[in-house]
């Protein structure tokens, strides 16, 4: 039985290595979390305090200074709205590309990706002028549309790859069963690929939630999401590490928790029991 102990040892080493890597990658977030419960002086002290009396003072100050719920609600509305709008447009498009490809399909897909390459700052002034003229400055609608648009290419593209993994037979079966285009999509295609659609939606949600350029430049207060809140704490005068950590934690926590909850969904590939 020479092999078994070595195998077990190898497995243990691997498990330890995995945990180590995971903790290292996660450490900055952990450190941010810890710092958010320190006083400003503790946060800046050297050597760092690993054991300290936790305080909620930073959170109190932030909540006093800014209406966190207002920003969070804006984040939810804009990121969520953009995700819904994006999915509404991207799913049919991906459907068309995946099941009725033409010779140009590949080029159109690549063109879509290329629209993402214009740096935002380069078109800030034009977009600002357009929004001004449409009376959409500081409106959630504008953010929803813009977030949806900047994420659309990636969404179409991801959903397209998911759809291509679904056997076309299943769609034909639906047709034989009397389902039209709409029913085929709503009753068969979308439920089947909901894992992939969920990852796509979550990706769009994350990217919209974290978007800071447009949300900062096109909003003032009514529509300002959490990323704008972070900007207002990013460098106040004086000591600010702990407050910054607290506000960062507040800004990232909702999406992080959502991400954790959906981790299984995200990691899961498409599984079928439909075909032999």
């Amino acid at each position: 039985m020479a092999k078994k102990p070595t195998r077990r040892l190898a497995r243990t080493v691997r498990a330890i290595a995995s945990w180590l890597v995971g903790l290292i990658v996660f450490f900055p977030i952990l450190w941010m979390l810890l710092t958010s419960f320190k006083t400003e002086l503790d946060a800046f002290s050297m050597p760092p305090h690993f054991v300290f009396a936790p305080t909620l003072e930073n959170y109190e100050q932030i909540l006093k200074r800014a209406n966190y719920l207002h920003y969070a609600w804006n984040s939810i509305v804009t990121a969520g709205g953009a995700t819904i709008l994006g999915m509404l447009v991207a799913v049919p498009a991906a459907f068309a590309f995946a099941y009725h490809p033409t010779l140009r399909t590949k080029n159109i897909l690549l063109w879509m990706l290329s629209t993402k390459m214009l740096p935002g700052v380069g078109v800030l002034v034009p977009i600002y002028l357009i929004c001004r003229d449409l009376n959409m400055l500081d409106s959630r609608t504008a953010l929803i549309v813009i977030f949806a648009l900047i994420n659309l290419p990636i969404m179409v593209w991801m959903i397209y790859t998911y759809f291509r993994d679904i056997p076309i037979d299943i769609l034909e079966a639906a047709r034989m069963d009397g389902a039209g285009t709409w029913k085929t999509m709503s009753r068969v295609l979308i439920p089947i690929s909901r894992g992939g659609l969920a990852s796509t939606a979550l990706l769009c949600l994350i990217l919209s939630w974290n978007e800071s350029f447009w949300s900062l430049n096109l909003t003032t207060s009514n529509a300002a999401p959490l990323s704008a809140l972070v900007a207002s704490f990013s460098s106040p005068e004086g000591l600010f590490w702990a407050k910054l950590s607290a506000v960062s934690t507040l800004a990232c926590a909702p999406i992080l928790v959502l991400g954790w909850l959906s981790q299984r969904q995200l990691v899961r590939g498409l599984t079928f029991g439909a075909v032999k």
Partner: protein, 291 residues
């Protein structure tokens, strides 16, 4: 005939997306094109005039222009290499079942959910600060002089931050892909006398070819436009050590308020990005659309 009609109507489903993106692309692009031929400084609204290609010339001869192109390539290239290589290795490492696998995966993908601004702020102020940062403490612990990250290794530091943000994305995609890997293929290779390294080299890597293409493609698009991280940490400096093309365009647009030059810069950035994209598509294109 019958299916033709259906096909045609179903193809129309792509139109909303195409039209929306077309508008989103054409309108600002047209305005950008127009502005790029104007002398248009936001602070002198009355002074605009047609200047032909002068804005382009101005942008190209900006002292930091070539550095910024080089920085863009370095940034995109090294982050891609780090995330792809690191992502592959880490996802292979955590692929086998071990106690707490789910938690470790959660830890690994967490940075992806952090706003770029926050990520940059945390790294700059809490970790890489040469006086009070965690890394400085770590360095002292080992009796070393703390590294002054953003001053001495500015581009590297930005790369570390950006790579930290995108590594989870790569891990996420690769972990998912590894799950669909055929176990019997691995066993067949074992029977053929392949040890772990050979299996990794001959089976795992080829299996990951398409996911790698996906990661490279999506990341490249975002990395070409990295801005917030630079803005927050180094502001493009010291000197122009971390100025990339988008940041240069930003300097023109929002520091100098020279909309004309910024528009020209934006167009240049698009062209550069497309050149890189074509290069990438050449490199990985086949596995992108193959079924």
């Amino acid at each position: 005939m019958s299916t033709h009609r259906r096909k045609r109507s179903e193809r129309l489903l792509a139109q909303p997306a195409i039209v929306m993106l077309l508008v989103w692309m054409i309108v600002p692009l047209a305005m950008t094109l127009y502005f790029s031929t104007q002398y248009f400084n936001l602070l002198y609204p009355n002074k605009s005039s047609f200047v032909g290609l002068e804005n382009f010339a101005y942008f190209f001869t900006y002292p930091s222009f070539w550095t910024s192109v080089l920085n863009t390539i370095l940034l995109v290239g090294s982050v891609l290499v780090i995330t792809v290589v690191g992502g592959v290795l880490i996802s292979v490492l955590v692929d086998d079942h071990f106690p707490g696998q789910g938690i470790v995966r959660m830890l690994l993908i967490s940075p992806f959910f952090i706003m770029p601004t926050v990520a940059a702020l945390v790294w700059k102020n809490l970790l890489m600060n040469p006086v009070s940062g965690f890394l400085a403490w770590l360095w002292r612990l080992f009796g070393l002089t703390p590294v002054n990250w953003f001053a001495d290794w500015p581009l590297l530091s930005v790369i570390v931050v950006v790579a930290w943000e995108w590594l989870p994305f790569a891990i996420l995609i690769f972990v998912t892909a590894l799950q669909s890997m055929d176990r019997e293929q691995k066993e067949a290779a074992q029977m053929d006398g392949a040890r772990s390294v050979a299996i990794f080299r001959h089976l795992t890597l080829p299996h990951l070819a398409r996911p790698i293409a996906v990661v490279v493609m999506i990341e490249a698009i975002f990395l070409l436009n990295v801005f917030a991280e630079i803005f927050v940490t180094t502001n493009g400096g010291p000197g122009d050590a971390t100025t990339n093309v988008p940041f240069l365009v930003y300097t023109q647009a929002l520091v100098e308020f020279d909309v004309g030059a910024a528009s020209a810069g934006g167009l240049v950035a698009v062209v550069l990005a497309n050149i890189m994209a074509i290069f990438l598509i050449r490199l990985i294109g086949k596995s992108l659309t193959a079924r």
